[in-house]
């Protein structure tokens, strides 16, 4: 029974994840006093890109062509592993939180490899920045997840998300989970290249981190990468919502609705954060990620101590 809801969640994610990104863009436009692009714009972009051809540089090899494909595959694998509130993931087993972290890592690795494969200085710069920051975010992500896992004594993400807030709003592990959620929010922003870590709308290559790595991709490859980015955002948001949302019911349909509602609210929150802050100077980015790591560490100490 719950498997049907999990399947429903995956199908929804596959179809609606670009919509989440366009919701963020609309929120940013609202803050800017504009009406913004239409909600279905990402789909138009994807269809446009799928019909185009691509030009491959002579310096690239099979790595460059494999990058987008492996990235999408890894993102889809992560989607299958992530729960949403009380709805378990489509595939849940003990230790799947490690697999989730590492599929995201695999996706990042191939993106970076593809970027380095082009031999261009811009992509190399983006690759080095991406790797430096993700070394710190991975610590924050894993420690935060470990904190929550230690608190509820579960090693599977689905069990974890169903045990969290099991006692209602007055659950005594609330403090731990709140700290871990704060850290996970920072990780969400960092991993998906949102402000304050990276500006997705900039056109200045020297300021980019993620955008510059895909500077030389075009056509179907770019479509795959954009779609994988949307799925990755959905995955990390669902993870955050699963841990932070305190409202749990026994009716699965209601849980799904609550989870989706929370995802939409999270999208709006990210949009607000993006509109209210400027991008941080590159020397300050590690400081913020380390602060998130310290929050996760604090959550871990509170869970264990």
């Amino acid at each position: 029974m719950t498997h049907t809801y999990a399947l429903f969640h995956v199908l929804l994610a596959l179809t609606a994840s670009p919509l989440l990104l366009s919701l963020i863009n609309r929120v940013k436009a609202f803050f800017g006093g504009r009406s913004g692009p239409p909600l279905l714009q990402p789909y138009y972009d994807l269809f446009k890109l799928l019909r185009k051809g691509a030009v491959y540089s002579r310096t690239t090899s099979w790595v460059f062509r494999a990058g987008p494909v492996v990235g999408l595959a890894a993102a889809l694998t992560a989607l299958v592993l992530v729960p949403l509130g009380n709805i378990p993931a489509l595939s849940a087993f003990p230790g799947d939180l490690l697999l989730l972290a590492y599929t995201l890592g695999l996706m990042r690795f191939f993106t970076v490899a593809a970027a380095l494969d082009t031999g261009s200085a811009f992509e190399g710069m983006g690759a080095s920045r991406e790797v430096q920051f993700s070394a710190l975010t991975e610590v924050a992500l894993l420690t935060g997840l470990a904190a929550v896992a230690a608190k509820v004594h579960a090693v599977s993400l689905s069990t974890l998300s169903s045990q969290v807030w099991a006692g209602g709003l007055a659950w005594e592990g609330g403090a731990t989970v709140l700290l871990a959620s704060g850290a996970l929010l920072v990780v969400l922003l960092a991993e998906n290249a949102r402000i304050p870590f990276d500006d997705p709308n900039t056109h200045l290559e020297l300021t980019m981190i993620h955008e510059v790595m895909i500077l030389d991709t075009g056509g179907v490859d770019l479509a795959l990468i954009e779609y994988a980015t949307a799925i990755k955002f959905w995955v990390l948001s669902a993870l955050l919502v699963s841990i932070a949302l305190p409202l749990r019911t026994t009716v699965p349909a209601l849980n799904l609705a609550l989870g989706l509602g929370a995802m939409l609210i999270l999208g709006v929150v990210v949009g607000c954060i993006e509109s209210m802050m400027a991008r941080l100077r590159l020397v300050r980015v590690p400081q913020l990620i380390v602060a998130a790591g310290v929050l996760s560490l604090l959550a871990f100490i509170m869970a264990v101590g």
């Binding site: 007055a170 005594e172 609330g174 403090a175 700290l179 590690p286 400081q287 380390v290 602060a291 310290v294 929050l295 560490l297 604090l298 100490i301 509170m302 101590g305």
Partner: protein, 214 residues
């Protein structure tokens, strides 16, 4: 419910300490110290099972002093000296935050070995107060600007005060008033001295106050 609120306040205090260690803008540091005083006042009132009139009055006076008057004095010193940021501390900010986490672990271990006899607070509270004191000491040692050192002193006194009010509850209020007055006078005199130091030296970098040595 009270327990959860108390825990929440302790976590807030720990986060405030970490913020104090990681922020370079002095205005933000002063604000953090003021909020810390409020949190500590709330924690002090929460830890008493049935607070008497004098206790409440004293805690209110202490909080008003530490959250209002002392930050105002530090702000005045900041205005006179024109110092806005601590740009080049002895220990960098990321490292400070990491050391802070280490100090928190230390205070947890210390709180565990010193079993608090009464049920007046959880062991989080003891470790929170010890951590606040260690933060204050760290700020005094690892920062250059005299104003940051004064803020470190206030933080340290905050931690000690919280420990005193929550655990040594039978300390007579006369002594507590005396402690409060002493802290106030100390910060007052320090504030005056910082302005004098700025006038004499044209900076308040205490690391450069090294004319006297053997």
């Amino acid at each position: 419910m009270m327990q959860a609120l108390g825990e929440f306040l302790v976590i807030l205090m720990i986060l405030l300490n970490l913020r104090l260690m990681g922020v370079s803008r002095l205005g933000a540091c002063v604000q953090t110290v003021a909020i810390q005083a409020l949190v500590i006042g709330a924690l002090a009132l929460l830890s008493q099972p049935k607070p008497g009139f004098w206790t409440v009055a004293l805690v209110a006076a202490a909080t008003a002093l530490k959250a209002g008057v002392l930050p105002a004095m530090v702000h005045r010193a900041m205005r006179e000296t024109g110092v806005v940021r601590e740009i080049d501390p002895l220990v960098g900010y990321t490292l400070s935050v990491l050391i802070g986490t280490g100090m928190f672990v230390l205070s947890l271990m210390a709180a565990r070995s010193l079993q608090v006899p009464s049920a007046a607070g959880t062991h989080w509270l003891v470790s929170g107060t010890l951590f606040t004191m260690l933060t204050g000491l760290f700020l005094i040692v690892a920062r250059r600007k005299a104003i940051t050192q004064v803020l470190g002193f206030i933080t340290m006194e905050n931690g000690i005060y919280l420990f005193g009010v929550t655990f040594a509850i039978h300390e007579p209020w006369l002594v507590q008033a005396g402690v409060l007055l002493d802290v106030f006078a100390a910060v007052f005199i320090m504030g005056i001295m910082v302005c004098h130091i700025n006038r004499e030296f044209d900076h308040i970098d205490t690391n450069r106050l090294s004319d006297l040595k053997d």
